[in-house]
């Protein structure tokens, strides 16, 4: 039980300025809205970052409500100066809630166990929010009859909840984004604190609290202004879909995202595939080659550690052995051993016909010996000089040496629509290495118009035999892939050489132009 005398003095008893009561009622609305927003933010962020939204939402909401219960319980220990405590609670909520989204995004890649950080924050905010309404009711108890008081406060509370739950999905997330939303509602909380402090100024000393409130205010404004930068710092906020796996290997940053059935792989921020349409890409990479070889026994895949190209190859019963060379052991390990991912490539990486070699293909081809009947080259785009080496005349000479006399190879070679010069540079370079090259392209919605370059010791012909059961390629659509409308048509290009990587330069230019 509180001290009745002091309690009377501290409450908004008759004699306190009317403005205070108004501010207090408005603040019920504000704190109710903010409280729910933080809860929604935490739930959305958790399902965004950790996946499995049903679990994330129920556990976040559950812990949040439970924490509010703790807050309500603790409110009984506030024995005097309820309004002062309320102001401080507001300042604290403003700081924690305001920074919650930005903080969680920034913490995600750093912390060992993200859940610990997430639930600690949810509990802290929940406890503070749980303190708010009991404190407000006690502060306002002299203003209204008890009956009206409870009705007023709860009405505002539920209206606030409605506002929040409508605003959040319809306006805030699409227009402001999660990071800014956090800051904006933090500002509302600290606004309540500042308004109250100003109203109380004559009655008690508020200097220190005001200073604290202003510091929080300033930090929230700064955060709001820097929201874009924070977004960039935090790579997870960079992806449009929830991140379900992120890891840095010595070679690259592997990120897997999932939204509904759509699983995506990003390497260093570049999309590698989306399960929605990867079959288009991989059928186009594999079947025009295998379909042109009488008896493809030995197949070499360079890159392609996700095992998806290998999945297509292994469907061909004529193939007796697949050799796959990928730089990153972590990639092949992931796609071999994580059931969800291995399912995507139908366990191609653990097939008895498969040999996985983890090594730098640039070095490996110089030491390897063939012959291979089919060679499928599926490297990341030539975004850097080090990757550009895998698209050079010298490299293709080694590959040509490994290719059987009647063998056929193909190279994924960027978009002929967005980067036609880069695209045709691959053909010119294969030709400089003594091969005959033929371009073809396919539409893959998540990439757009995508290009491949087929090459062989003799000009590859038109006759192709495709297996039954493909989802994308038919005889007719296969034939159509070799047709290039004028905007993608062949143009003269330089040869990409180790000591003069024309491709890396044109690639940066053409894609830079495209990205704006």
């Amino acid at each position: 039980m509180g001290d009745p005398v002091r309690g009377d003095e501290d409450g908004a008893e008759p004699g306190a300025p009317a403005s205070l009561a108004v501010i207090l009622l408005v603040s019920v609305l504000v704190v109710a809205t903010c409280g729910l927003i933080y809860e929604l933010l935490a739930g959305t962020l958790a399902s965004y970052l950790l996946g499995d939204s049903v679990t994330q939402f129920s556990t976040v909401i559950g812990s949040y409500l439970f924490a509010m219960g703790i807050g309500s319980y603790l409110s009984r220990h506030v024995r005097h100066n309820e309004i002062g405590v309320f102001v401080r609670v507001e300042i604290l909520i403003a700081a924690l809630g305001g920074w919650s989204a930005a903080g969680l995004f920034l913490l995600f890649p750093i912390v060992e166990d993200f859940r610990v950080a997430l639930y600690a924050l949810v509990l802290a905010i929940g406890i503070l929010v749980g303190l708010e309404i009991p404190l407000l009711i006690r502060i306002l108890r002299h203003r209204f009859a008890f009956r009206d008081l409870v009705s007023n406060v709860l009405t505002y509370d539920y209206i606030g909840a409605l506002i929040a739950s409508l605003l959040f999905p319809l306006v805030l997330v699409p227009w402001l984004g999660m990071i800014r939303t956090g800051f904006v509602f933090g500002l509302a909380n600290v606004g309540v604190a500042v308004a109250l402090l100003l109203a109380l100024r004559g009655r008690q000393s508020v200097g220190r609290d005001l200073a604290a409130a202003l510091i929080v205010l300033a930090s929230l404004i700064a955060g709001l202004l820097a929201a874009d930068r924070i977004q960039r710092w935090s790579e997870v906020a960079f992806y449009a879909e929830p991140v379900v796996y992120a890891r840095s290997t010595p070679y690259q940053r592997i990120v897997i995202t999932r939204r509904g059935e759509d699983l995506r792989l990003y390497l260093n921020g570049n999309l590698q595939f989306s399960t929605r349409d990867e079959y288009r890409y991989h059928e186009a990479l594999v079947w025009p080659v295998l379909g042109r070889i009488a008896n493809p026994k030995q197949v070499l895949i360079l890159g392609g550690g996700d095992g998806l190209a290998a999945r297509e190859v292994l469907r061909d019963p004529r193939v007796s052995k697949v050799t796959l060379v990928d730089l990153d052991p972590e990639m092949t390990h992931l796609f071999r051993d994580v059931p969800q991912l291995a399912q995507l490539n139908r366990h191609s990486l653990s097939s008895p016909r498969m040999q996985v070699i983890n090594g730098d293909a640039f070095r490996w081809v110089r030491e390897a010996s063939g012959p291979y009947d089919a060679i499928l080259i599926d490297f990341p785009d030539p975004t850097e000089f080090s990757l550009g080496k895998l698209y050079t005349e010298s490299f293709y000479r080694e590959v040509a040496r490994l290719l059987a006399p009647a063998g056929v190879m193909t190279v994924q070679s960027t978009s002929p629509l967005i980067a036609p010069r880069s695209y045709w540079t691959v053909a010119s370079t294969l030709e400089a290495a003594g091969l005959s090259a033929r371009g073809y392209h396919a539409y893959v919605p998540s990439f757009g118009e995508w290009g491949f370059t087929m090459a062989a010791h003799a000009p590859p012909g038109d006759t192709v035999i495709l297996p039954a059961g493909l989802r994308f390629l038919t005889q007719a659509s296969e034939r159509a892939m070799f047709d290039f409308p004028p905007d993608m048509a062949r143009r003269p290009t330089p040869v990409n050489r180790l000591d003069n990587q024309a491709l890396v330069r044109s690639f940066a230019e053409e894609w830079g132009h495209y990205d704006g």
Partner: protein, 536 residues
């Protein structure tokens, strides 16, 4: 300041201040070694403290004293001429001199010399060697085709300038009109000089330098400093001057004030690399730098090489040379009788070992520090991506080259960065003293600080720093050096005592060392009456 001063060391310390605040003992010492040319063996020669030779006195046709590039090139030349009666005595445990290399589990790396430019047409012997080593793989229109794997891969150079990395080593943005005018004027002047021919019909500047014109119009440039020449010609642009200073320090380890105008211009006007496919302006490089050339030279001559053998006295007796050497493993001295000796050691050592045959002259040497920094991921940075050679306009170091540049394709794995610092500002003796007294930890702090200023992205990525000190690394082509009588006499020496070292060219370059070795070998072979077809 050329070399990091105490203030830099303090600044470097400040970087570790976080660790200091937690108690400096909390931060474990950085792994690494502090090493260098064996100065104890060097000082033994200076102090002349060797036991008198005893035992058998072996006789040999040609004795090569020094197993650097010049000595090994001489040996290579003899082998190629079918001559086998020679030995190479090398002071260090390993041959190679300034072109030595190291290796760790991540990569091989250079300890000094790290590249060879595509040679000029006049470098006949060198081209023959490159052909033998499979570095020249064919011919197109008469010109050699170089192995693309051994030409420096794109991107060759990048420069940190105004907060971002750009291609090439000359600042491309933020230049004043005057900066641009002077840059273009200098470029044009150098293009002209490159094609200039003296009254004697020879190119004004050539590599090897002996093929350069003796026309006083050009040799007079040896009398003034490069800095004075630039002043006289109105080259005042600070951007241009900073670039030219970088070049002087890169090639000679010496400031433009201490380099002759002849040498300063030679850097820009002597290179006319001869190659098919427009590769004339390229460079050959390998993970271990010129260590690759050393090991290929050694492959052919290893049976003749005796490492850990200091030559401490050379004299002429009748028409043969008497050479005293000390075997550091056995702890005993030997007297050799040779029909001819090729003194392939740095000239300041030669002057002590063969005082009757040469003097000290004006030979001055720049000290260098080279560090191999093992990092667990590739450096990045704003702007253009990682190059082979990475230089910052804001640093007094020469930046770093990337050991795995030639060998790997995957962008992000561990690598070794070779970091270079010529101690050019203080006088060489002062700089040497500073270099020798500074501790490993102090060097590591300076190097780490310099690297992290260039590449903050390397924070936490440095696994070890191995520091290598070269006390007498490079000959400084100071004004007047060309006409130093000691130098000319050493060049013109006749059997049985010949001199072969890049010092005699005043240009610390592989091509010069190679040429000196080949010339001395041919002179010695002719002296012995061994027939061969000259490569000169």
């Amino acid at each position: 300041m050329a070399e990091p001063t105490r203030r830099d060391a303090l600044k470097a310390g400040a970087v570790g201040a976080g660790a200091l605040a937690l108690g400096s003992c909390a931060k474990p010492a950085m792994a690494g070694t502090l090493d260098g040319a064996d100065w104890r063996r060097g000082h033994m020669i200076r102090d002349g403290k060797f036991p008198a030779p005893n035992g058998a006195e072996p006789r040999v046709g040609i004795l090569i004293a020094g197993g650097g590039v010049a000595g090994l090139a001489a040996a290579w030349r003899m082998k190629a001429a079918g001559f086998d009666d020679f030995v190479v005595l090398e002071l260090e445990d390993r041959v190679g001199g300034n072109a030595r290399s190291g290796r760790n589990p991540v990569s091989a790396y250079p300890l000094g010399a790290h590249y060879l430019p595509v040679p000029n047409k006049e470098a006949v012997a060198l081209r023959r060697m490159l052909q033998e080593f499979g570095m020249i793989v064919g011919e197109e229109g008469g010109a050699p085709i170089f192995d693309p794997y051994q030409l420096c891969a794109d991107l060759e150079e990048r420069l940190l300038w105004r907060g971002g990395w750009q291609e090439g080593l000359y600042p491309a943005s933020g230049l004043s009109r005057e900066d641009e005018i002077q840059r273009d004027r200098f470029t044009q002047a150098m293009a002209q000089l490159r094609n200039a021919v003296g009254a004697d019909g020879r190119p004004a500047f050539a590599i090897p330098r002996v093929y350069s014109s003796a026309d006083p119009a050009y040799t007079a440039l040896d009398k003034v400093s490069f800095a004075a020449w630039l002043d006289d010609h109105g080259y005042s642009s600070p951007v241009l001057r900073a670039y030219l200073r970088y070049c002087c320090r890169d090639d000679y380890g010496t400031e433009p004030d201490d380099v002759s105008a002849w040498a300063g211009l030679h850097y820009f006007a002597a290179r006319r690399g001869w190659a098919a496919r427009g590769d004339g302006d390229r460079e050959l490089t390998w993970p271990e730098g010129n260590g690759r050339l050393v090991s290929l030279l050694l492959e052919q001559t290893a049976d003749h090489v005796r490492p850990a053998h200091s030559v401490f006295a050379i004299a002429q007796q009748g028409d043969e040379a008497v050479v005293d050497s000390f075997d550091h493993k056995a702890g005993s001295s030997t007297r050799w009788h040779a029909s001819c000796v090729i003194v392939a050691m740095p000239h300041f050592v030669a002057a002590r070992v063969a005082p009757a045959h040469t003097g000290k002259g004006r030979f001055r040497y720049a000290p260098w520090v080279v560090a191999n920094v093992t990092v667990n991921r590739h450096p990045k940075g704003r702007g253009v991506g990682l190059a082979w050679d990475n230089v910052s306009t804001g640093s007094d170091s020469l930046g770093y080259v990337v050991a795995t540049h030639q060998s790997a394709s995957g962008g992000d794995g561990p690598t070794v960065l070779t970091w270079y610092l010529p101690l050019s500002k203080a006088s060489p003796p002062e700089a040497r003293k500073l270099m020798m007294t500074r501790t490993l930890a102090a060097w590591q702090r300076i190097i780490e600080d310099d690297l992290l200023t260039m590449n903050p992205d390397l924070a936490g990525a440095i696994d070890r720093i191995d520091v290598w000190r070269w006390g007498h690394a490079m000959i400084s082509p100071t004004p007047g050096f060309l006409t130093d009588p000691v130098r000319t006499a050493a060049i013109e020496a006749r059997p049985p005592v010949l001199f072969a070292h890049s010092d005699l060219s005043g240009l610390s370059l592989f091509e010069e060392a190679h040429y000196r070795g080949v010339v001395a070998a041919e002179t010695a072979l002719a002296h012995l009456g061994h027939s061969f077809e000259s490569l000169i």
